[in-house]
Amino acid sequence: MKSIKYLLVGLIFGLAITKGEAISWYRIQEMFRFESFHMFGIFMTAVPTGALGLFLIRRLKLKTIEGEIAIMPVKKYHHGVIIGSLIFGFGWALTGACPGPLYAQIGSGYSVVIVTLISAILGTWTFGRFQKYLAD
């Protein structure tokens, strides 16, 4: 039952990307054509909000509710950051979805996106299978 909180945060996140239309195929195409501020506005407010939260946690030395020291995220560079990101960009423009929106699109009633999600899982699996042959 301790994990119900993640369900709740997921629901809030899912609601925000759905009502904010970040899961809309139309909005994604519009973003890649730079024809509206909407999606950029979402990024430009989400990132500083997250950054402020992390800054306050660090500055005030806030502990988690379990009393642990919060582990700050680290993203390491490897060449996959460039190659993988370019590949993902193509997929994002085709499906109108990154992984989060895939789930929310299914919830919004676009049941066929289940197939897209299964295909994404297969893509991740294929990456794992051939990882040793790919440039790191």
Binding site: W25, G53, G100, V112, R129
Partner: protein, 186 residues
């Protein structure tokens, strides 16, 4: 009660999305990241002898519960409180869609493209199956997606995440301008 059904402007949706970063950290010392749920499902279902999928996935099962929340958020925002009006995209984008032969611009996605029968057409196969595959392959190769790199990574001032988001956009812009018109002409 109209406000329940109207879409959220960017200055509401963005901060709510951003707030989940400190929230997940404080509630359970978790880092926001959604592409890792795809890896989780691989590890739970078909790990094989692949190193990427051989770890204690149950320890990270919180993100699968988070993913269920995402689906429920979609139900709430896209069905229960669905916006009855079409997405208010710019007129330029709308005429671009019309020039590609898309005319039904209702809902959140073009139902002319994203439906079950169209899976059997080359167009639908490329958009949904190949597109989905690229999302899963690319995000794992990149070590994160729009949430893990784009929101969390940038919030934590991780420079690889900035490279990632620039490349997400480079791929998307090229695909939107050069590939999408070819596919939709099929």
């Amino acid at each position: 009660m109209d406000f329940l059904f109207s879409p959220w402007p960017w200055y509401i949706a963005g901060p709510v999305i951003g707030l989940t970063v400190p929230l997940l950290l404080l509630l359970g010392n978790k880092n926001l990241g959604i592409s890792s749920t795809l890896r989780q499902i691989c590890a739970a279902c078909v790990p094989g002898d692949i190193p990427l999928f051989n770890y204690d996935w149950k320890k990270d099962s919180w993100n699968l519960i988070f993913a269920v929340g995402l689906v429920l958020g979609g139900v709430l925002g896209g069905i229960v409180f669905a916006n009855p009006a079409p997405v208010a995209i710019s007129t330029n984008t709308m005429s671009y869609f019309n020039s590609l032969g898309l005319h039904d611009l209702s809902g959140l996605m073009p139902i002319e493209l994203f439906n079950w029968p169209s899976l059997l057409s080359l167009k639908g196969f490329l958009m949904m199956i190949v597109g989905g595959f690229l999302v899963g392959f690319g995000t794992r190769y990149a070590g994160g997606c729009t949430s893990g790199h784009g929101i969390l990574g940038l919030s934590a001032l991780q420079w690889p995440s900035l490279i990632a988001i620039v490349c997400f956009f480079a791929g998307g812009v090229v695909c939107n301008h050069l590939i999408l018109p070819l596919i939709l002409a099929l």
